[in-house]
Symmetry: C3
Subunit: 336 residues, 3 copies
Amino acid sequence: MSEYVRNAWYMAAWAEEVPQGGFLARKLLDKPWLIWREGDGRWVMVADRCPHRFVPLSMGRFADGRITCGYHGLTFDGSGACIHNPFGNPLPATARLGICPVVEAHGGLWFWPGDPAMADPALVPDFSFIDAGPPVGRSRYVMEVNYELIADNLLDLSHAEFLHVESFGTNGSLFSHGNQTVETDATGAIWNKWDTAGAPPPGWSMPLVGEGQTVDQSLHMRWHAPANLALFIRMARAGTGGQDLIIPPIANPHILTPETQGSTHYFFTHEPGPEAEALARRVFLEEDEPMISAQAAAMGETDFWDMRPLVLASDAGAIRARRRLMQMRRAETGGK
Amino acid sequence: MSEYVRNAWYMAAWAEEVPQGGFLARKLLDKPWLIWREGDGRWVMVADRCPHRFVPLSMGRFADGRITCGYHGLTFDGSGACIHNPFGNPLPATARLGICPVVEAHGGLWFWPGDPAMADPALVPDFSFIDAGPPVGRSRYVMEVNYELIADNLLDLSHAEFLHVESFGTNGSLFSHGNQTVETDATGAIWNKWDTAGAPPPGWSMPLVGEGQTVDQSLHMRWHAPANLALFIRMARAGTGGQDLIIPPIANPHILTPETQGSTHYFFTHEPGPEAEALARRVFLEEDEPMISAQAAAMGETDFWDMRPLVLASDAGAIRARRRLMQMRRAETGGK
Amino acid sequence: MSEYVRNAWYMAAWAEEVPQGGFLARKLLDKPWLIWREGDGRWVMVADRCPHRFVPLSMGRFADGRITCGYHGLTFDGSGACIHNPFGNPLPATARLGICPVVEAHGGLWFWPGDPAMADPALVPDFSFIDAGPPVGRSRYVMEVNYELIADNLLDLSHAEFLHVESFGTNGSLFSHGNQTVETDATGAIWNKWDTAGAPPPGWSMPLVGEGQTVDQSLHMRWHAPANLALFIRMARAGTGGQDLIIPPIANPHILTPETQGSTHYFFTHEPGPEAEALARRVFLEEDEPMISAQAAAMGETDFWDMRPLVLASDAGAIRARRRLMQMRRAETGGK
């Protein structure tokens, strides 16, 4: 598996996942972390591993911004410093927990696992549509595959015509009436855009459109490295220049953060309520994950490119994103 | 584990395992394959892996001898050629599925994983006794051990005196009245023959023999590389030159095809009906497999010969078969 | 993981674990062994692996000090010699089972996996307090972690103040009134001694002490290589020179024998009866093992010292024991 890109913002959690007055323990990029909010409102993120016997500090006790190890009582604060040693002996400078910059934006907590000096909050990808839109439920799901395989999946939505036939496939209109373009914007985001013109509407929207009517639809997927994606959907009556909308524009985050090389935190939103969450989860669980898991099983430990994949026209966006990640990795590791 | 011998016929399935108008997906020699019958009656075998994203094609849709990938819609025919690409771009010559020669013989489908030019159907081992005999049930069982360990087991039937005491042991007559010979015949098959003369009959046959009578029995096991075995049993009243048979001669296939290095498709026959199948399976499951699995666990990743096994007289057949496989491997790999 | 020290006594079992007229099969130091008592009272220990096909002999039949393989009938005696070969051919000198010196002492069966010439029974650590004390139940529990991690745990009892708060913590008196000393005695044992003077009594002993009274307590842990530990506890009224005992002195074995590098036979005693055993087991299962397992998971395959652990004053005993083991390993392997 490839090294993680480190100088980038990843999402650790939705802010509301951290309990009031408590902490959240989560594995991110193969390492265990604790996240809590200090009394002054700042978020902190410290390694969930005692430097004495390496046990998770999350098995200990937390109060007032201090975590006490449940094995031998070393106590640490949100700066990572050891502020109490029951045995009294002076401790070396290494008696600290690793820390990570963390900022709150668009409902999420974002961390920067690389050089803290480079952790500019202005570089957090723009998911302001979450704040700006109608109220949504924010959820997380762990998909047991590598994050790059999920990004590949999202960056080529044409798979919906086969894998999601039963849910949100478009009856083949991507092929009959569609056009794909791949672009990189000024923020560095890569866009994979499918636009259909004058096509029959997808099944779920037929009642809204009217018999015999056709639509113009856009399915635009945006990718920010390492794997923070957003989907923008518009559907208008055909020939109205995209103005006579059939449904309000939709924007959905698909934010992917590696838990390990073989599992991914998948952050998503949905209409409020547990039923809408269950419905969204069902598509992931029953349609995407079995296919991507089968792909992962077939690949085993072999690198994606070493598998010599056949390249289709529709892969243009996903391949551009994979190349970007490779360039970032090379820049960080000096060629490895 | 040792490489598989590739220039040889292995059995993939009983023909009736492939559903009418459908396909069979099966892992063979560590690779996933699809088998189906073309409209003209020919059998085909293609790799069950899409060259685009490596997912099993068996997760897609099959109709009229064409399989469509369930992820992005590439469609292949029984020659392995890609006959439809929804995205239209021309595909390179590598956009093909691997294929394997496959022939039907004696109720089974046989494949040749090596050089297709060498795949002579006349080399399929002779199991015509299956067709010629009374109707039988044909079944398959996956035993979770390496195929060579099962062949060792079958090529030394003396284990029945200890492991199958409760089922078809011979009350020790192999040792008291038996003679073992090992031969290689003109077809290249290795035979391990146990013959007993003037011995008390095995328990299950006592009612047929008569009190105080003795029998001549032959238990002849035939092995064709890589691991296609057949057992031939005869039992006659002692001293009749093997002519006064107590039961009709019995012939049973024990055809072993590696699923992986640690699991084996075991093809066998039995009297028709589910009860007879369950009885045969029970001996495999409760008597052979626990012992062979314990052997496999004890060996771990170590090669059989590197374990420096003690050699008994009764091992002559199994060792000759292991040597043959080693020679075949060397011939194919040039020494590895 | 580090090599096992071989020239040392390890405990294999409590003597009563071996059934009368039968044998005990147990994995010790990654190898399977059989233990039985000969007719003349001597204990024997032979490898539980047939040299023919490597299956466990414990799957065969045992009678009169002879074990017959359940696969092909080779029979061995307690000296490891093959005394019957059903196939008659002469066997080479390698047709023997490995054996190990084993002696009974203090209720346990002790084995020496190294050079038999060095296996001096006088070197078995002194656990005579088990025989001398009141009747106890003797039990065994397999903890799914490396034995050195458990020894670390035992050699620093201060963890009781955090991990065993609910059971036998001492309300922090180790820190407020305690003194730790580490000693090596004439037998080579390493002692980690915690002594408290004039401290409030632990909760469980309050009813015995009287309101407002204080106690002097000693918690002395003794370690003999490789991992045979004993805990000695005394509690007396404060200021009586340790003479006015509140409870009779307690001595408990904590004898650790590797089953594998990742699992340990933990031999312990308790008041007679299944309830007392369940209570003792509960502390292991619910308090120690989750923490030590979390430590093992955090360490993965990395060596303890390569983890660069922070060293606390209380680690002095455990570190001295780890160093001793390293020296013994180096002496045996010549530096590895």
